[in-house]
Symmetry: C2
Subunit: 204 residues, 2 copies
Amino acid sequence: MARATRERILEASSELFRHQGFAGTGVKQIVAEASAPFGSIYHFFPGGKEQLGEEVIRSSGALYGQLIELFFTPGCDPVAATRAFFAGAAQTLIETGYADACPIATVALEVSSTSEPMREACAEVFESWISATAERLREAGLGRARSRSLAISMLCSLEGAFVLARAQRSTEPLAAAGAAAAAGVRDALAAGRAARRRRPHSAQ
Amino acid sequence: MARATRERILEASSELFRHQGFAGTGVKQIVAEASAPFGSIYHFFPGGKEQLGEEVIRSSGALYGQLIELFFTPGCDPVAATRAFFAGAAQTLIETGYADACPIATVALEVSSTSEPMREACAEVFESWISATAERLREAGLGRARSRSLAISMLCSLEGAFVLARAQRSTEPLAAAGAAAAAGVRDALAAGRAARRRRPHSAQ
């Protein structure tokens, strides 16, 4: 039961933070949404709202990481996976009235200059997403540095598309950014294959 | 003097909102930073903090639009302009301790699901930046639809890179996203030139 209450607080906070931000969400609203007693926040999160924020970033970041791994599976075609991921994100935005996008971006922008523990949690989550995607690009034949920079630029495209799509209430940014990201992956893989044909025995 | 106070309130708010968000910034902090009397906010912005927010989005959005136009000048090389813009943004982040990035993105994510007037102001600002960049791409020889989608994907890359760079306190995301964006522009221009060579008398 205690476990359930803690989970409900984390889930309600995650939803509220991604829709309206960290500062704009009050503890009262969180306990109301979570059907939890007011004091339970400080029972489960003795460090208060900042500790709750940090845990929400890590837990919702891990969940979203699992979503990324559902698309970017071992042995997948990274071009098709990129297209499908952006298309799925657009569909989710439509279905949620342009509310559900990145689970941590709103908080990341709010706290990057004001809370070191929360900023670090965001940085670690972004890093985990980059590593997971870069790993798939490596398996598809790209060198380590190229895989990393491509994974970063894909994530930047996605995060920025979420900012624009939510403000413009349109999936056009996800379509444009998704097409550009998929083209970037396609070209990088083609360049990698061409380099391997030229130098069949050397790494890229 | 009244004009000066109003401007100081707008400038202080713009700075505070971009660093710590809209909800995280109190009216007391704004008047203190602006050296303005407390009541002056409601004198100049009778609609209160939401009206102030809307005006800050429009005014800081217009200023940033001028910055975009400093890089993407009529007749510029859009590839070089893209590289220079991302490099300049990285430099600004370093110089400001990773605080100064997009003037409206933090607020955009916070208010997109909670304030229609502020969301609409953000949407209009993003649209103005897209139009200005697309115009330069048109002049460089791209078709209307291609210019627009490319301008959108460039802006998405930049906005997402700001999210990651501020959280990670690193310019790596701007370097990766900037290189990908410049490559996208280069390839689009090359494809446009190739299409014009094949069909010299038809539009792309």
